[in-house]
Subunit: 213 residues, 2 copies
């Protein structure tokens, strides 16, 4: 059974489908056609059908898609039925903000540990999780079956820490540091470069003002 490669363009749209289907489900909507979903989400019906069909036939001709079923299936594709154990490296403002964000826990992303180079923070509790010193990182990862490392440290420290994470076998890094990581094949990296996002915003503001003239 050949597994075809799904493009990252499609993957990138799945969380949004998942969100809309969750909302429809909560509203008690039972079934939906690609056309109706198209109208709500402002994407073409054709794209919706193509996207879903990458994973097999979720719908039924003449009927549409069962909202609850589709929601569950997309959740499975995204791995939402699994639990992931996280450590956050960098207990500054951003690291603390992420540690405090309950919604990740609801989705199965469990924050198990918080680490910081600054030993004056050691022992501080963030939502009940104590900050630990960097020396304990390796042991903690191994003992707690950590999947995902979150980097919320300045760019200078990010590369060496990413190497330590990889060496302990984490499967993925969620990188908020403003630097590109170089990890071995098979270690997943998802970058959240906030300043890049602001720069795009800045560009688009200027572009629109130019268009008006």
């Amino acid at each position: 059974m050949e597994e075809k490669e799904i493009s990252q363009a499609v993957i990138g749209r799945l969380p949004r489908y998942f969100r809309y289907l969750g909302e429809l489900k909560d509203q008690g909507v039972e079934r939906i056609s690609s056309q109706e979903l198209s109208r709500i989400m402002h994407v073409t019906a054709s794209q919706i059908r193509q996207d879903f069909n990458n994973f097999g036939g979720f719908g039924q001709q003449g009927y549409g898609y069962n909202v609850e079923y589709l929601y569950t299936e997309i959740g499975k594709i995204l791995g939402m039925h699994k639990k992931h154990n996280l450590v956050i490296v960098g207990a500054g403002h951003l690291g603390q903000a992420l540690a405090n964000y309950m919604n990740f826990e609801r989705r199965g992303f469990l924050i198990k540990g918080l680490f910081d180079q600054d030993t004056s923070l050691t022992g501080m509790l963030v939502r009940g999780i104590p900050v630990r010193p960097m020396e304990e990182l390796e042991n903690f990862i191994l003992e707690n079956e950590i999947d995902i490392g979150v980097l919320t440290i300045p760019k200078e420290g990010a590369i060496p820490v990413s190497k330590r994470l990889v060496k302990c076998g984490v499967k993925a890094i969620w990188n908020f540091a403003h630097v590109d990581l170089d990890v071995p094949e098979g270690v997943q990296v998802e970058n959240v470069h906030l300043s890049d996002s602001l720069m795009k915003l800045s560009y688009n503001i200027t572009r629109f003002e130019k268009e008006q003239r």
Copy 2:
């Protein structure tokens, strides 16, 4: 003089060029060829030349690109020479983390105000900026020439607040709330959906594990 539309794919790459060129500049590198940059950034030289040529000829045949000049020009394209005034709506952990992040200020994104529905936070200082009650939002935006509204509130409140921001004439919204905003043409929106980003990570972990089997 016809301004050609630049694709968002290109725009999305500009901040990364800007970052690498800044680093090269700091290292004292004077000139660089598309081929060399290609090797460093892991993109094709052809793409680099195509991207830059969207904005006119920055290079010189037989020589390459002057790093400092190219850095400055891309900065201008991104609007990095301009200042933007921001308000953050939602003074929770994430809002505070963003308010504390100095690097945005360095890039000309000046955080002028912080707002929160919870009046028990009113007056609290975050990096010297007092938290204000929501009633003051409109006047504050008008008086301080606010460009950009940042939404760091739960999704329930995001849409009404976005409408208030738009009504006061903000040019752009940086949206951290997990909901799609519906704004008039010309108002720029940049979404940072952190949980979507985590879901992609989760998908890619599972995908890789499947491939191995």
